[in-house]
Amino acid sequence: MSLSHARILVTGATGFIGSRLVQWLVEVEKARVVAFVHQFKNASRISRYPVEMVQGDVTDVASLKKAMEGCTHVVHAAVTFAGTAEQNRAITVDGARTVCDAARSVGISRVVYLSTIDVYGTTPPGVIDESTSCHPSGSYGQDKLDAEQVFREAARTGLTPVILRLPVVYGPWSFWSTYPMDQFHRGCVVLPDEGSGICNAMYVDDAVQSIVCALTSATDTDVVTCLVSGPDKISWKQFYEEHGKARGDKPAMPRFLPKADILAGYHGEQFNSTEGLLRRLWNIRGEARIVMRLPGAGRILNSIRTVRRNLLNRGNGINASPVAPLKVAVTSLPDILPDAAHLELMASQSFIESRAAEKLIGFRPSVSFAEGIEKTRLWLLWANLVG
């Protein structure tokens, strides 16, 4: 099915997937696009294309209905992490309800909803698919799961929603590509368990292609839920190392710690008062490794150890000068632990297979990790994000 006569409303159109989707719909599919924009100041990327921009809020049914007038399809990609948990939930869950109500009222049936693999929570090793049970471990995953349910219920009243559960989507402007570079910039990135966790990565163009398939597919069922992912099985070690190579002659490489040690390291970062910190240190004074991960403390102790080691080595005639090794110690980088919210994801041994997506909406990923990361590196250089 061609979209050349379609008029498609995209919520979240200024986001990184939304922006690339808008570009694809306009330039490849020759569709007309209405971009539902929360704040115009974020619209620079999509302003390059002939799109109609309508300002509004996804929880405001009136502004959505107005924007949807004359539209044939909706892609609901709006999400926020900026507010409180309650505010973010309102955007995700109430927003889903509002999108369904507005679409129904103007006679649109096909709505594509961008969900996430976070709805599964912690999963056992092995393949996960649409039959895997969902036990979200965070509010984001729970909100998304609840929003999915809103779309499933809407299917009973005329909508034919397609729910796409997206994995780690990387590429230009992606959090998952700027975040590693920011971490590399701040210090030595630490990954759990030798970095062997499976990174279910998908290049943004594959994500966009899956949305296009969802828009155009003719399905037998009222509602379709698909997991989608990229074509290659890669580890988080590969994911970070390949991003780190964007730094050219000085590629940044992650180092590794057991997941348990990283969890212990979080405790060292959670003090918010000097008194609490000192009390905690006194209580755990035997656990040197925690002290080592306090900001700055590790560097100082490293320096002392290096000097001590060099002084000891002097007598053996090894590494006679204490100056050079000390210099290395002083310039050593602090450890950058993964955010607590990402630790389980980075340690997971679960692997997504997109078989249902191919069967139900005809989507098969086509951008290999090698190709996707090469484009990402070109963008990182251009965007001055390689550090």
């Binding site: 570009q23 694809w24 306009v26 330039e27 490849v28 924009v37 115009f40 100041k41 974020n42 619209a43 620079s44 990327r45 999509i46 302003s47 390059r48 294309y49 002939p50 799109v51 921009m53 300002q55 590429g171 230009p172 163009d205 594959d206 292609q209 086509s366 951008v367 484009k375 990402t376 070109l378 963008w379 251009w382 965007a383 001055n384």
Partner: protein, 342 residues
């Protein structure tokens, strides 16, 4: 003019709220007598800051009670509103760019000449001390013969716009070239006078450009490259190479670093003229303050202001010539899997 100047502000958008109101209220030699905006919500918001000012939605209704006006409306309205004010003999300070086209600029200049009113253009970067210092350095010849100029000017767009006009060619005249680029090109013209466009590439694809590269020729064929962005944080400096030294002008940090070469080892000099860093947008108020000082003093003293209507028109003419040379700016990561290049 001996009495306190009566000022109207046309347009109650972000620039008015953030930068024009406070310095005007702080002055003794002028008063804001009216605010005009067709958006009544914005009129109410900004009106709270100036409770005594008359509020109106049409310029015509305030003409009798003013001496001068600040025109801070979307670009496509600059010419019609300015001509209405100039015809009534009112002096104007117009936000950049002066107008959408050179034809509109010519019309505005003609109306001003006929009425005797003056046009000043809000190229406020001229009032950045580092930029002014760089101009003096260049005029002094201290860098020797200039061999190249490279300007990178870009930040991720975050201006709190109330409408989409900045993203519409019919209303803004273009994207980053017309917006940030108007300041950048005015700065280059004010430094080198003679500027010839050589090539221009941008990434617009039926909309307005978010990134672009302009190649200019200065006198004696000196190349000048200008890169502009709304999607990236660029270097935000101008690097000027000369036979006797190199100068880097940090226009957001308000800093100039000059490195002289010669018989002695390299001697870098870091200049911090007048103010400290202007990186924080709240610090931009200094430049707006200097601009207002200059404009109001020019009206009181009957002297030309720093940036005249003619100079504003030069920038618009250069933008027009640059746009006429447009070629696509291709981003290699934007090649679609289908083999298409956006």
């Amino acid at each position: 003019m001996s009495h306190s100047l009566r000022i109207v502000i046309i347009g109650c958008g972000a620039v008015t709220e953030m930068f024009h109101i406070a310095p005007l209220l702080a002055r003794k030699d002028c008063r804001i007598t009216a605010l005009v905006d067709r958006n009544e919500k914005r009129l109410e918001v900004v009106g709270q800051l100036v409770p005594h000012a008359h509020r109106a939605t049409e310029v015509a209704t305030v003409l009798d009670d003013i001496d001068a006006a600040i025109v801070a409306v979307p670009h496509f309205l600059h010419a019609p509103i300015s001509c209405e004010l100039l015809s009534a003999g009112k002096h104007i300070l117009v936000e950049k760019p002066l107008a959408l086209t050179s034809a509109e600029c010519d019309r505005m200049l003609a109306v001003a000449r006929a009425s005797g009113a003056t046009i000043t253009v809000g190229h406020m970067r001229r009032f950045c001390p580092a930029v002014a210092f760089a101009r003096d350095m260049l005029r002094s010849g201290a860098l020797g013969a200039i061999s190249s100029v490279d300007v990178a000017d870009g930040v991720v767009f975050g201006w709190p716009v109330e409408s989409d006009f900045q993203f519409r060619r019919d209303k803004a005249g273009g994207g980053v070239l017309v917006d940030t680029g108007a300041h950048t090109l005015d700065m280059v013209i004010s430094w080198f006078n003679e500027v010839t466009p050589l090539s221009y590439r941008d990434d617009a694809s039926g909309g307005v450009e978010a990134d672009c590269v302009v190649e200019l020729g200065l006198s004696d064929g000196v190349p000048c490259r200008v890169e502009l962005s709304r999607t990236r944080n660029l270097r935000n400096t101008a690097i000027i190479e000369g036979a006797l030294g190199r100068m880097e002008v940090f226009f957001y940090d308000n800093k100039v670093v000059v490195t002289f070469t010669g018989a002695f080892p390299v001697l870098p000099i870091e200049c911090m003229p007048r103010e400290s860093a202007l990186t924080d947008p709240s610090q931009w108020r200094h430049m707006f303050d200097y601009q207002l000082d200059d404009w109001l003093e020019s009206l009181v003293q009957g002297r030309p202001a720093m940036v005249s209507g003619e100079e504003g028109a030069k920038v618009v003419r250069l933008i027009e010539r640059v746009q006429a040379m447009r070629e696509p700016l291709l981003h290699p990561w934007e090649t679609f899997a289908t083999g298409r290049q956006s």
